[in-house]
Every structure is written in structure tokens, then in C-alpha cells.
């Protein structure tokens, strides 16, 4: 337990010490809120969908979580390149526990990042339906974060170096974000796109966040949470399976 805690703490310390990373990863969500939020605001309103900033903010929160989470998982590649992975691998701690400690740490960091974006979006005109909703929302954020940190771990276990990183971002993280309904409503979509959204775990995460934060929902909270829990468990299993096979 203490071993998992110290690995978790390591992730937190590293995050808090890299101020440039915190600020840097806020730039993208800010840009989305500013350019899309205000840019499409009037069109969205005219289409009878209401306030676009309200609709967009949960999506942008989801975006910042998945980018931070996947990156935290992928950091294992850095640990390998710069040697620290070896220190963990020769220590009397199981691979599973290394994976658990790291994943919890990465997920905590990603959740904090999501919360930060939530606070920032309040300044852009985002309104919470109720302040108490933040607590269950943080729970959902943590689930999303766990899922994508585990995904990052899985990818990092399969890659040798950072060369493939761009590939992952473009072919996995970007599609997961853009096709999840983070930017547009899921109702009335073309069939193919609607189907893709149903197999994108982030769709459920963002749908749940919307329900909790602004009271709008597409799939329904029960389905959202169930699907999210299933996806998260699957990716945690996959992540630990592939991490077990890593050789240094």
C-alpha cells in the first residue's frame, strides 16, 4: 500500500514541479473555449440549441483530461529512456502494483487538470446547474482519467520510443476527442457517426459530465456510468497485461 502511495506521490510531485506543463496544457482548452465557444455561439443559438459555452465546457474539460491522462501513461517511455523504469523493475514490487501506483497518480493529475479547466470556463460564462454537482462530476472525471491513463500505459508498453507518439495523438486521441460529441450534440447525427460515438468511451464520459453540470443528457446517466465503468475496467486490464510484458 505504502509502495503504491509513494509511486502515486511521485507523479503528483512531478506534475506540481513542471509549471510549464500545467500552463502549457491549459492553452489548448482556452483556445477551444475562446474560438469555438464564442465563434460558434450565435450559430448554435440560432439553431435553437441554447448557449454554446454551456454545451462546450464539459467537452473541453473532457479534452484536457484525456490529453493529460494519455500523456501521463505514455510517460513510461520517458521513464524507460531515462532509466527510472529499471529502478522500479528491480525493486521487490509487482508489476501490477507499479502499474496501479502510476495509473492512480496519472489519473489524479489529469482530474486536477480537468478541474482547473472547469474553474477557468466559469470565467468564460459557464454556469453550473448546482455547486454540489461538482462532487459526482469529479468522480466521472476520475473515471475518464483512469481509462485514458491505462490506455497510455498500454501504448507506452508497446512502443520503443517517442517516435510513435505523434501517431498515437493523431490516430487515437484526436479521433476519440472529435468524435465523442464533445463539440456537437449527438442527436440527429448521420448513422455512421452516431455509431462511432457509441464505441468511443469519451462520449459517455462527456455525456455524464453534461448531465451533472448542466442537466443535459443524450444516453442517460445510468448507461453513461455503466459503459464508462466497463471501458475503464477493460483498459486497466489491458494496460496491466501489456505492462507486464515490458522488458527493459
Amino acid at each position: 500500500m505504502k509502495k503504491i502511495y509513494i509511486l502515486w506521490l511521485r507523479q503528483i510531485k512531478k506534475y506540481l514541479r513542471s509549471k510549464s506543463r500545467i500552463v502549457g496544457s491549459l492553452a489548448q482548452p482556452l483556445l477551444f473555449l475562446l474560438a469555438l465557444g464564442y465563434g460558434f455561439g450565435s450559430v448554435f443559438q440560432k439553431a435553437g440549441e441554447g448557449n454554446y459555452i454551456e454545451f462546450l465546457a464539459p467537452g473541453v474539460i473532457g479534452m484536457s483530461i484525456i490529453f493529460t491522462a494519455v500523456f501521463s501513461g505514455i510517460e513510461i517511455i520517458w521513464d524507460r529512456q531515462f532509466g527510472f523504469l529499471k529502478e522500479m523493475m528491480v525493486a521487490p514490487i509487482s508489476r501490477l502494483n507499479i502499474m496501479i501506483g502510476r495509473t492512480l497518480g496519472g489519473a489524479t493529475v489529469a482530474t486536477a487538470q480537468g478541474l482547473l479547466v472547469l474553474i477557468i470556463s466559469l470565467f468564460f460564462g459557464f454556469h453550473l446547474s448546482s455547486v454540489g454537482a461538482i462532487i459526482p462530476a469529479v468522480g466521472i472525471m476520475f473515471l475518464i482519467a483512469l481509462l485514458f491513463t491505462a490506455l497510455g500505459t498500454m501504448i507506452a508498453s508497446l512502443l520503443d520510443d517517442m517516435q510513435g507518439f505523434q501517431l498515437i495523438i493523431n490516430f487515437l486521441v484526436m479521433p476519440a476527442f472529435f468524435l465523442s460529441g464533445a463539440l456537437f450534440p449527438l442527436k440527429g447525427l448521420p448513422k455512421a457517426l452516431a455509431f462511432v460515438a457509441t464505441i468511443d468511451p469519451l462520449s459517455y464520459g462527456i455525456d455524464a459530465l453534461r448531465f451533472l453540470l448542466i442537466g443535459e443528457v443524450h444516453y442517460g446517466l445510468v448507461r453513461d456510468v455503466t459503459m464508462l465503468a466497463i471501458f475503464t475496467s477493460v483498459f486497466l486490464l489491458l494496460g496491466s497485461y501489456f505492462f507486464k510484458k515490458v522488458e527493459v
Binding site: K2, K3, I6, L7, R10, K13, K14, R17, S18, R80, Q81, F82, G83, F84, K86, E87, M88, M89, V90, A91, P92, I93, S94, D160, D161, M162, E247, V248
Partner: protein, 261 residues
């Protein structure tokens, strides 16, 4: 303390370690010498549970590291050839993390960290981030960390690479003291012949994944009728220069260095 029988490691078609057998006695200082790419590091990785042998058996401190890795891991400390510290943590935090991973009780952890860091003369830098350290300071910290859980065996993979003579000397003084007082078994690889000659009780010369000679430095010199251990080494392994393929890690480190400038 270490008993290896017919150890083989294959990477695809390439056989990195090809039927290696040797014994290291309790409390012995044993050196592995060999040209680049001879299989030294691969052997150490198998002994320390980082790689699974393709075939062969290893007995480490009475146990099998393949079947029971955690027991084996508690029994040894290791100083790797490449750095393995977390650069974003302080020296003390690196020590603490190691101590907790090895179940060192917290009071003991504090005492030993202080003692070891004073020994490697890093105590006054204990709260500095490791990324501010020079190569030699990092190496010293790694040695201190490797000894933190008082291992029965310590593996050192080219431990003195890039250290100045003063640090190298004081490091060996400490290790020899540890070897004498605590009966710690020491297994190391090196390129410095005079180091092996001065420190090691027995030496194994490896080439192309095989042990081609074992013995004291005297007996190796006798066997090859050479004046020095270096001549003995060259007459056993030939004068051809070996190349090692750069691993992705090396390439990445290069890029990282360029990038940071």
C-alpha cells in the same frame, strides 16, 4: 552466493549470452571483463530479474530469481550502467522512494540515507533536484541508493565510468570496507583493467556471449604469458574493435541532450 549454469539469452536469431556458467562465492569480489557487446550487461540483467533467460539456471542467495523474483530482488542492490534516477525528484526523495520500495523501516531509512549521502558527499545537496547534478554526482547518488537496503550482493555495471580518480578511489574504498565488514558479495563489470586487477579476487573474461577464461589476475597472466592484465585480455579477445548498435535509449538521450542546449 551466485551460481549460474549454462545460461543462454537469445534475441531473435542473435545469441547475446551463449551457455555461460560460473560460481561466485559468499563475500567474494568478482569481475566480468569483456569487449563491448560481449554479453556482460545482458548477463547482469538476467541475474537481476530484468530479463528472462532463454534457458539455463540461476541460483542467487539460495533462490531462483526466475521463479521467485521478489526474494531475489531483496537480496541484491544494483548500480546500472546508465542513469536510473528520477531527475525531477530531489536526491533525498530518490533515496526515500527506494527505501519504501524495499521496505526499509522509516527510522532506519533516515539514518542510513544520511550516513550514505554523507559518505558520497552529497548530504548538503540532499534537497537539490537530481537534474541539477553532474554525471559524477548522479553516479555517487546511485551507489548510495543501491546500498540503502543493505543488500547481500551488489551488482555494479561499469560503475566507475566517467568518474574522476578521487571518486573512483573513495567508492572502491567504501565497497571494500563493506565487503570486509558486512561480507557483501560484489559482482562488477568494467573496462578498466587496472581496476579489475586491483579490486577483484577473481575475474571472468567474456567474449561473444561465452566465458573464455576465469581466474585470478595472476593466473590469467600466467595462462597467456602476458606482462599485464590488459595484454592478457587482448590476447584472449583479439584486437578487433567491436561496435554496439545504438539502442533507442541512446538515440533518445542524444536528442535530449541536443534539445536541452
Amino acid at each position: 552466493m551466485i551460481s549460474v549454469h549454462n545460461l543462454v539469452k537469445k534475441f531473435g536469431d542473435f545469441t547475446a549470452v551463449d551457455g555461460v556458467s560460473f560460481e561466485v562465492k559468499d563475500g567474494e569480489i568478482f569481475a566480468f571483463l569483456g569487449p563491448n557487446g560481449a554479453g556482460k550487461s545482458t548477463t547482469i540483467k538476467m541475474l537481476t530479474t530484468l530479463l528472462r533467460p532463454t534457458s539455463g539456471t540461476i541460483i542467487l542467495n539460495g533462490g531462483d530469481p526466475v521463479a521467485n523474483p521478489d526474494a531475489a530482488r531483496r537480496s541484491f542492490g544494483i548500480v546500472f550502467q546508465d542513469p536510473s534516477l528520477d531527475d525531477d525528484l530531489t536526491a533525498m526523495e530518490n533515496m526515500e522512494l527506494h527505501g519504501i520500495l524495499y521496505d526499509v523501516p522509516s527510522k532506519l531509512l533516515k539514518e542510513r540515507s544520511k550516513e550514505l549521502m554523507q559518505f558520497v558527499e552529497l548530504w548538503d545537496r540532499k534537497d537539490s533536484l537530481v537534474k541539477e547534478f553532474s554525471g559524477g554526482m548522479k553516479r555517487r547518488l546511485e551507489i548510495a541508493r543501491g546500498l540503502l537496503h543493505h543488500p547481500k550482493i551488489i551488482f555494479l555495471d561499469e560503475p566507475t565510468l566517467g568518474l574522476d580518480p578521487q571518486t573512483r578511489n573513495s567508492m572502491w574504498e567504501y565497497l571494500k570496507k563493506l565487503n570486509k565488514e558486512e561480507k557483501t558479495t560484489i559482482f562488477f563489470t568494467t573496462h578498466y583493467m587496472e581496476e579489475a586487477e586491483r579490486v577483484a579476487e577473481r575475474i571472468a573474461i567474456v567474449d561473444h556471449g561465452k566465458i573464455i577464461a576465469t581466474g585470478t589476475s595472476e593466473s590469467l597472466k600466467e595462462q597467456t604469458k602476458s606482462e599485464s592484465l590488459e595484454d592478457a585480455f587482448l590476447s584472449l579477445t583479439g584486437k578487433m574493435i567491436r561496435d554496439e548498435a545504438a539502442t533507442p535509449a541512446d538515440q533518445m538521450r542524444m536528442r535530449h541532450r541536443v534539445w536541452r542546449r
